[in-house]
């Protein structure tokens, strides 16, 4: 079968992804070591791990991003490996390199490959050399505005200004004509400098309303690489994914095979190992362009797991232990359809502002084909210091329409009292004909959901809520509760109650 697995893995993350990795460790009989900041002592990942080590005050820079503390925790606990999850230090080539030096296995790619794909401009150059189609654009970082203008004319407007050192929408500006170029370059450089400490920018052709289609790849340490097909992540709000699925409704078998082979070629060209994702943009004419490589396990990995039957975290651990990939490309396939909704602590009725606070009650949805990757529990105080992702709700069904119905039923079954989540918004997205018919592109939210408001509540349910409230108050306080003292007007309950309608 292969190499012996690690005795202990340090999970250098928190929340739902830390819980995910801990579960994989349990299945393999590997001891999991959690790290927790002062704000996370009561968190679920800390409770579930076999061991838990404190790593500092709440702010990420002093805890989950503190490389010294993480490495020290791994050494003190005797961990053979570290799983970085996503975000935090997952794509930090410096941290990856340090692990290598300290003799702690980093469960992810080698630092050289991570470094190469982390630099967007170098990555594009490498891809072009390998014959991978890239978005027409500049081959190197822009030096002066004049050079930019010349390049922009060559590429053809509209163009996009992008930061070379990082992503997440920072430093990105769309430019429709030459007169907009100079101010866009200035603003882009400023934002890039502030976000990454590096103001380098370059230009790329702006592809209008593309679909975001990415391919999951696994590669062992012996050069064997497979792809596990695609995920479509076009439902994004401010460049943040909120709904993902597999397969993509826009990709047919022939296109899938071509894109999949390209993804494998990309990873081989980069000398990549372990799990990673190759992102493409798919335009209206089914032409695809390399966008970037995500050198980590992604948030949306569950939809791939549901349709392929492959547990990606287990595979990551096997690969990192030095085992040869047991998966054969010819034997891999997609079955059925999976959808994922990200559950954030955000209030969709108040500009999606963060909604931290206490979760008073949680009842997770369940049933056939329903999976909930959850980092929260009833009674937990959601802290203000971190990314607001609470959980992911994933469904699998025989086909896409069935998956949509199953997701709506599961969202209807999701009880979370105490803080706000975008669940009402997500339901409306899934019900929307453009989404339901598989026609959504990355412009979907902007085009169809701008100015969304929550639908009025059902009157019958409101009456039931009132009756329940009265019943529950009855139990607690025996005294009758009149209207606010002093506000005595002659009122008749008969008039105010109106017609009683049940369960409509």
């Amino acid at each position: 079968m292969g190499e012996k697995l690690f005795d202990k893995i340090l999970v250098a993350n928190r929340g739902e992804i830390a819980v995910r990795v801990i579960r994989a460790c349990r299945e393999l009989g590997i001891r999991s070591v959690a790290v927790y900041s002062e704000a996370d002592r009561a968190s679920l990942h800390c409770q579930m791990a076999d061991e838990a080590v404190p790593i500092g005050p709440a702010p990420s820079l002093e805890s989950y991003l503190n490389q010294d503390r993480i490495i020290e925790a791994a050494r003190a606990a005797g961990c053979g490996a570290v799983h970085p999850g996503y975000g935090f230090l997952a794509e930090n080539a410096e941290f990856c390199g340090r692990c290598e030096k300290e003799g702690v296995v980093f469960i992810g790619p080698n630092s050289k490959a991570m470094d190469l794909v982390g630099d967007k401009v170098r990555a594009r150059q490498a891809m072009e050399k390998a014959g991978v189609p890239i978005i027409p654009g500049m081959k190197s970082v822009a030096v002066g505005d004049e050079e930019c203008a010349a390049q922009a004319r060559k590429i053809g407007y509209p163009v996009m200004v992008k930061a070379s050192a990082g992503g997440g929408g920072k430093g990105m500006r769309i430019v429709c004509g030459e007169d907009e170029l100079r101010p866009a370059l200035e603003a882009g450089r400023r934002e890039a400098k502030s976000a990454f400490g590096d103001d380098s920018v370059y230009l790329e052709k702006y592809i209008e309303e593309p679909r975001h289609v990415e391919f999951q790849v696994l590669a062992d340490n012996f050069g064997n690489t497979v792809h596990l097909f695609e995920r479509e992540c076009s439902i994004q709000r401010r460049h943040q994914k909120i709904i993902e699925e597999s397969p993509s409704p826009a990709v047919d078998d022939a296109l899938r095979a071509r894109m999949g082979e390209t993804a494998r070629k990309v990873m081989t060209a980069a000398g990549y190992n372990n799990a990673g994702t190759v992102e493409f943009l798919l335009d209206r004419n089914k032409k695809f362009y390399f966008l970037e490589v995500n050198a980590r396990l992604q948030v949306e990995h569950p939809v791939t797991e549901m349709v392929t039957g492959v547990d990606l975290v287990l595979q990551q651990i096997f690969i990192a232990s030095g085992r040869k990939l047991a998966l054969r490309q010819e034997a891999l396939g997609q079955r059925g359809h999976a959808l994922e909704c990200r559950i954030y602590a955000e209030d969709p009725t108040n500009r999606f502002l963060p909604s931290p606070g206490r979760i008073l009650y949680l009842k997770e949805p369940a049933g056939p084909g329903v999976r909930h990757d959850c980092g929260i529990y009833s009674g937990w105080d959601v802290p203000i210091h971190y990314d607001p992702i609470l959980a992911k709700l994933i469904v699998w069904a025989g086909d896409r329409e069935e998956a949509c119905r199953r997701m709506l039923a599961a969202l209807d079954d999701y009880v979370l009292l105490g803080i706000r989540t975008p669940i009402p918004f997500l339901k409306d997205v899934i019900r929307h004909p453009a989404f339901r018919e598989g026609k959504a592109t990355t412009g979907f939210i902007k085009e169809h959901m701008e100015g969304w408001t929550e639908a009025a509540k059902d009157e019958g349910k409101k009456r039931l809520a009132l009756a329940a409230a009265a019943y529950l108050t009855l139990d607690r306080k025996p005294a009758s509760r009149p209207a606010a003292a002093g506000a005595r007007e002659a009122y008749s309950p008969w008039k105010s109650l109106g017609r009683w309608r049940q369960g409509e």
């Binding site: 602590a345 209030d347 108040n350 500009r351 502002l353 963060p354 909604s355 931290p356 606070g357 206490r358 008073l360 009650y361 009842k363 009833s378 203000i384 210091h385 971190y386 990314d387 607001p388 209807d412 079954d413 009880v415 009292l417 105490g418 509540k457 059902d458 349910k461 409101k462 009456r463 039931l464 809520a465 009132l466 009756a467 329940a468 409230a469 009265a470 019943y471 529950l472 108050t473 009855l474 009758s480 509760r481 009149p482 209207a483 606010a484 009122y491 309950p493 008969w494 008039k495 105010s496 109650l497 109106g498 017609r499 009683w500 049940q502 369960g503």
Partner: protein, 166 residues
């Protein structure tokens, strides 16, 4: 017994009679009986006329939160001061009470008591979950009171600043 509640911000009244395992709701058409069974600390099962309704509920100091067949409601006791729940309160006698739109931490307060401010001028910055939010003056005025400073944790109910209009 009559109850008056604020449900999702609307004042509503309901008259009920206690019974064993039942809620009798008194309405203009007469009484309606709901068979009520406590399933757990957070769950109530209601049956009426053959229909089954699942109610989940939880309380904190100020609210009773209810989930009824897929829809969520917030119930509070009606009170005099219903303002200050979220973001800026409307002008009351020419005074704006400015609270944070979300629970978080004050990064900085840019003005001091006595400062003259213009409409949309940034007064303070609050941070939560890696997002910064600038609190701006709703109109021209003078800073009357400052209730918080950098590093303070704030919620949506208690104002950070008071600005007198004009």
């Amino acid at each position: 017994m009559e109850y008056e509640f604020l449900i999702d911000g609307d004042k509503e009244k309901i008259a009920v009679e206690p019974g064993k395992g039942a809620i009798k709701v008194i309405g203009p058409e007469g009484a309606l009986e709901l068979d009520a069974r406590r399933i757990s600390d957070n769950c109530l099962s209601l049956l009426h006329d053959g229909r089954s309704h699942q109610v989940f509920h939880a309380r904190d100091k100020e609210r009773l939160l209810l989930w009824v067949d897929g829809e969520a409601f917030e119930v509070r006791e009606p009170s005099e001061d219903e303002g200050g729940r979220r973001a800026e309160e409307g002008v009351r006698q020419g005074l704006w009470r400015i609270a944070s739109p979300m629970p978080g931490k004050v990064i900085k307060v840019v003005v001091a008591e006595g400062d003259k401010v213009r409409k949309n001028q940034t007064l303070a910055v609050v941070e939560a979950m890696k997002m910064e939010n600038e609190l701006k003056a709703p109109g021209d005025g003078t800073v009357k009171k400052v209730h918080a400073s950098a590093g303070d944790l704030v919620d949506t109910n208690n104002p950070i600043l008071e600005v007198e209009a004009g």
